[in-house]
Structure formats: structure tokens, C-alpha cells
Symmetry: C2
Subunit: 392 residues, 2 copies
């Protein structure tokens, strides 16, 4: 196929027929698409070389560097999607919150949010501050051709957990305590995190991302009752900012190399209505994936906030996940990252088991059940992609 | 009631009719017994005063200090049981493993166990080294009178996770990787941890503990398949060391103040057979509680390794936990520790909900769904005990 100039609208338009996007839309293809959470970053030597001397958040906010890091695993592994290289706390940083990422520890807040006044004192995100994100996404989709880019954002609860804890935490007790001890402050905090992270994800789609994944990394710390009443409304609010956005198709129906006009990230006539209005063509609405760790009890609730695809960690098998979702929801997952260091026959048997169980869902995108561990041998990931693509 | 001299066997014998022990045996009393995981320790000012200048593992191995710390919350809160103050890594330490507890971080190993050779190099536990534990337990039960002492031990997987990771970890990836990359080394490691932790728990019962709780703190990181095939056999092996041990009853049937002969921690004629032989009187077999965090998917498997009572964290309600256990298993739990800092009416409503849902099980001991947070106001715990005792 002839190469189009970088940034040509048709290049982005091609993703509408890509295995990833069509599978996210519930259509099974000849083979199962595959990408890896945290594929961009710490497991790749070319990433470690590039990052020397640059702090994590500075790398996220440097459009050329963020784009290059996003592209590295696509070049190396031949995965079916790029995932935008960023961090959950980036929209907080852009809003003016004092946050940094401490190597080996994670995000650390200068002033944890513990009171109603702390919540009221949170700064407002000027959406113009998202320019470096839009620029990085535009650079990336121009270079990706017909490989789709997945936008990235943390869910409101996970952002709130960092804000309240002031840093990483095992049980997110301070956040869960605020939830119950001051429900009004909690609601206001969730509204704030939903607003900034919704804007962050929206900017990525408007700049050309073909899909979006909301990471509620710590939702597994919650009971279903707390998730439903104290968290889900904010996740739905964040996703309402990206519902109704359309991506990479042309009016004639799109497809690889198809001609047509396209505005990157246009809005449908009914923004906020999720795939159920006459003016929104569901085949061109940006598909949304929702993922959390240890969320076997929450899968249905996490779907119900407005996701198209549910990501499943490694703790429950995909056939059980599909059963809990009524057998009608496309799944993503769920290779156990611990198996990446096992002898190949052990990993291969696990992959075949995951693929077989994934058949119980309408469609399935293979992924890990958690991020790529830093010490993973990249060659194993490359081999895994080839192996998955060779299966039916 | 006349006070018996400290250490008199009858004093220990009284616990057979205690609300805790009878409830653990599946008999509902007039009110619900209550104790708190981590009630002994960091939330109490008298504990913090006592610990000044003494390292954690030194405190655990000083019989007078360990006993005093164990007794403090019983005096203060009027809970229905003492839980032996110790740490999951104590049996490793007594076996000669280089382990220390770093304040604010947790257990840290001098030499993490990563290879088959590392496993073979693990030292053998000389059970004579458990003398300070037996002494602390004996001092404690002598002082407790008719309040039962619950023995404490970590489950083999949780010990193995610390040994392999070399310290605390969020996802226990190194341990779960070894499990799959070298199954033989893993099996040998689990046999080793089962042996030392089984001996640790057994010593506590022989010295007078009336019940035992096995903490598999990190089992929630496992899929059911991995738990069942790679972990459960070792947990069963550890518990086989305490099955068939009898406690605090006299031959005539026991009861508060009842006379009779008693050998503390005698073995039944059929050690290893769990409550299903003619020679073991189930009303005098030491009841075993099994608890883990985030183990909603594993409850039945955790019961099946040989537990009498299953502890439930705060993530799923007790009626759902009881349903998963077939409605026949006594439960312990499951107040959300995050609610301890909420206004009293919020906590009270939560407690009443937990008590109501606990009625779906044959019997129920109230506890938290995780340990007492360090910053908990002790007065809230005291009030909670009074409140629970006042309910029917």
C-alpha cells in the first residue's frame, strides 16, 4: 500500500477497519488483536535510553518524546494498537496540582486533599493547558498509519485515591474514609477528578485517538455498594465527555485506504448520548474500554457507566467474566503477567486457554491482566504477538 | 466468681463456654461476639508507650512484652477474644532467616528467595526455638481467665510471598512468577513455609490458645485456579499440624467454672483427622479461622483446606459470602475499617447492616474486614464493642 504523507487525514481514517477497532465494536475477525497495558515504557531498552535525564512527567508533556515512546512498542512488537504514553496524574499536573512522580514509588502529592476546604481549593483545569497532549497525539496518529491509537486516562476514583492518600497506597484507606466521613466533600472531589480526566481523554480523541481506555486501577479496593453509589456516577460523568465523539471513518463507511472526508474527532449531533441516537453511527463512535485490577465483583457496574469493552485482570477467567456480563460484552485481557517469565510452553498453554475462554464473549482483544512488568524480556512480548496472530 | 490463681488449668478450661468459642463452633448466642484484627498494637497509646526503644520482632520474642501487648485491647475494649500479638515472619526469624521489620515499610529479607537453590538453602526450624512463643501464650492465657486467646499465623503463600519478593509488594509478582517458572522449587518452598508456620501455630495451641486464625493476607492476588493447585495443599498441610488438637474443656463437658481435669493443648487419638472421627469431640477441637484480603472468589477453597470459620474482608457482604459457602459455614467479619473514622450514625448503620447480613450464616463473629488502621480512635472501638454486645 502506498504511504500517505504523515498527518494526512486518510491515514487516520484507515483505523476504522483495523482489527482492534472492529473487534472493540464486537465483530470477530480472522485472528485476535493484541496489545499490552504498559507496552510503552519501562520494559523497553529504547525507552530507558530515551528517558535518561528526563523526569517522567516532563517526558509525558514533551510531545515529541511522548509520541516516540508511544510508537516504540508498535515498531518492535507489531501490536495491533498504540496506547498513548502518559500518566494518570498528568491532568492534575496540568491543572496546577503539586504532583511529581518519584521513581520506584509513584505519584506523590505536595498537599494531600483531606478536607472539604482542600477540595474547594483545587485549581480549575484550563483546557488550553492540554495542548501538549493534543500535539503528542497528533504526531503519533500521523506516524501510526492504519494502526489505531488508544487514548489513556485514569478514572475519577483512582485520581481521587492519589489526591487523598498523597501517594501510592495498598488499601486506599484515607480515600475510602473521606468517602464516608464527608460525603459532600467526596462528591465534590469526584466531580473535580471526573472533569479533569474527562477533558484529558476528550483532548486525545479530538486529536485523533481511535479508542479510549479508562483505567480505574484501584476500584478493586471498593465494595460493589460503594462503587455503585460513590464512584460510578463520576466515571459516567468523565465518559460523558467522550461519548458521541466519532473517529477515523469517512462518510462512505471507511475502511483501510478508503477515500472520503474526515474531521479528526468530530462530535456527533448528540454528544452525551451513548450509541443510541439516530444521528450517531455506532460503527464510528469511539469505543471505550474500562479496566481495573481485582474488579471481578464490579465488572457489570463498570460496564454500566458507559463502556463498550470491559478489561479483565488475571484473577478470573474470561468465560466467567463474560457470564457476569450477560454474555453480550466484548472483553479485553487477561494473560497473567506472572506467566511472562515462565518457560514458553507454560505461557503458550496459558495463552491458548485465555483465547479459548475469550470465545465466550462476542469478541475479544488479547491483553495482559495488568501492566507489563518492568523486568519483562521484550522478546517474549514480540513472540506472544506473533503467536496470537497465528491462532484462529 | 472466685478468681483462680493465674495459670490454673481451670482458668483456661473456662473458655470452652465462651461466646467466641461457642460461636466459632456454630452455636448462636444471645449477642454477637466481637474482636478486631490488629486490635493489639499500633492504634493503642499504651502499646506505643510500651514499644518505645524496642524493635518489632524483639517485642514479639519477649514473652512478657508480647503477652502484655496481647492483653491491652482486652482490658481496654472488652472484646470477646485476645489475638496473640506476633508477626507473620516470626517463625522465619526463629528458623534463622535474615528478616527484619522496617517501620513504615514492613518485613524486609536480607536474601530474597528466587531460585531452587535458595529454597534448598532455607534453614530448618528447631521447634525448641518456639519457646518464647509458648511462654508468651502461657502468660497470656493465665491472665485472660475465661476470655479465649486466638493463636495467630500467616498462611504458607503469604510467607512465601514475603520470602520471594524480599519485602512488601502490591501484586506479589515475583512470587507468582516463581510459582509458574519453577513449579518444583515453588512446591518445595510452600512445603517449607507450611512446616514452619504450622509449627508456630501448633506451639500456640499447645500452650493454651483456644482458637487459631490463619492469615493468608495476600491470597487475594491469586486466581482460584492458582490458589487451588499451587497454594491450598500447603495451607492444608499447615493446618494438619493443628487439627485434632483439643483445648480448654474438661472431660465432663466444660463450661464456665466447671471442674474437671485438663491438659492444655492435648492431642486427640487421631491427630490430622479434622473433626470427623469418633475419637475427636468436635466441641473440643480448636476452631480454625481462615482469612484473606480480597478473597471473595476463594472463600470456598479457603474453607476446604480445613477451616471451621471463614473471615470475610469488607468487599463483599456477608450474605453473599454465606451464599458462596453454601450457607453452612460460620463467618467472621466484615466491618469496613474506612468506616471507623466516619460519624457514629454512619458507622452504626453499617454495623447493623453487617449484623443483619451475618444472620444468613449459621453463626457470626463480628470483626473488621481488615486490620485496625493505626490512626483509629480507640474510643470508637470500645463504643463499637458495647454497641455490638447490646444487639440481639
Amino acid at each position: 500500500m502506498r504511504e500517505l504523507p504523515a498527518g494526512h487525514p486518510l491515514q487516520v481514517g484507515r483505523t476504522s477497519a483495523s482489527p482492534l477497532v472492529t473487534t472493540y465494536q464486537g465483530v470477530r475477525g480472522d485472528s485476535t488483536p493484541v496489545w499490552f497495558m504498559r507496552q510503552a515504557g519501562r520494559s523497553l531498552p529504547e525507552y530507558r535510553d530515551l528517558r535518561v535525564g528526563t523526569e517522567m512527567l516532563d517526558a509525558c508533556l514533551n510531545p515529541e518524546m511522548a509520541s516516540e515512546i508511544t510508537l516504540q512498542p508498535v515498531r518492535r512488537h507489531g501490536v495491533d494498537a498504540a496506547i498513548f504514553f502518559s500518566d494518570i496524574v498528568v491532568p492534575m499536573k496540568l491543572a496546577g496540582v503539586d504532583v511529581s512522580i518519584v521513581p520506584g514509588r509513584g505519584p506523590v502529592l505536595g498537599n494531600p486533599v483531606r478536607t472539604a476546604q482542600d477540595v474547594r481549593d483545587l485549581p480549575t483545569l484550563d483546557e488550553a493547558a492540554l495542548a501538549p497532549i493534543s500535539e503528542a497525539v497528533a504526531l503519533t496518529v500521523a506516524a501510526l498509519g492504519d494502526t489505531p491509537l488508544i487514548g489513556f486516562a485514569g478514572a475519577p476514583f483512582t485520581l481521587a485515591a492519589y489526591l487523598v492518600e498523597g501517594g501510592p497506597s495498598k488499601d486506599h484507606l484515607a480515600a475510602r474514609t473521606l468517602m464516608h466521613s464527608d460525603p459532600d466533600a467526596w462528591a465534590e472531589l469526584m466531580q473535580w477528578t471526573a472533569t479533569i480526566t474527562g477533558a484529558f481523554l476528550r483532548a486525545q480523541i479530538l486529536a485523533g485517538a481511535s479508542a479510549a481506555q479508562l483505567f480505574d486501577s484501584w476500584a478493586g479496593a471498593l465494595s460493589l455498594a460503594d462503587y455503585t453509589s460513590k464512584v460510578a456516577p463520576a466515571s459516567a460523568l468523565a465518559l460523558s465527555r467522550v461519548h458521541g465523539l466519532t473517529y477515523g471513518g469517512d462518510e462512505a463507511g471507511g475502511g483501510a485506504g478508503a477515500a472520503g472526508t474526515r474531521a479528526v474527532g468530530t462530535e456527533s449531533a448528540a454528544p452525551g448520548a451513548h450509541g443510541d441516537t439516530a444521528t450517531t453511527n455506532p460503527t464510528r463512535t469511539v469505543p471505550i474500554v474500562h479496566f481495573g485490577v481485582g474488579t471481578g465483583e464490579l465488572l457489570k457496574a463498570m460496564h454500566d457507566v458507559g463502556a463498550d469493552v470491559v478489561g479483565v485482570d488475571y484473577r478470573i477467567p474470561l468465560d466467567e467474566a463474560s457470564r457476569r456480563l450477560g454474555g453480550t460484552v466484548t472483553l479485553q485481557g487477561n494473560i497473567d503477567p506472572a506467566l511472562l517469565a515462565a518457560p514458553w510452553p507454560v505461557l503458550e498453554a496459558h495463552v491458548l486457554d485465555v483465547l479459548a475462554r475469550g470465545k465466550s464473549a462476542p469478541a475479544h482483544v488479547l491483553n495482559l491482566g495488568h501492566g507489563v512488568p518492568p523486568e519483562t524480556d521484550p522478546a517474549v512480548l514480540t513472540r506472544l504477538v506473533e503467536f496470537v496472530h497465528a491462532q484462529n
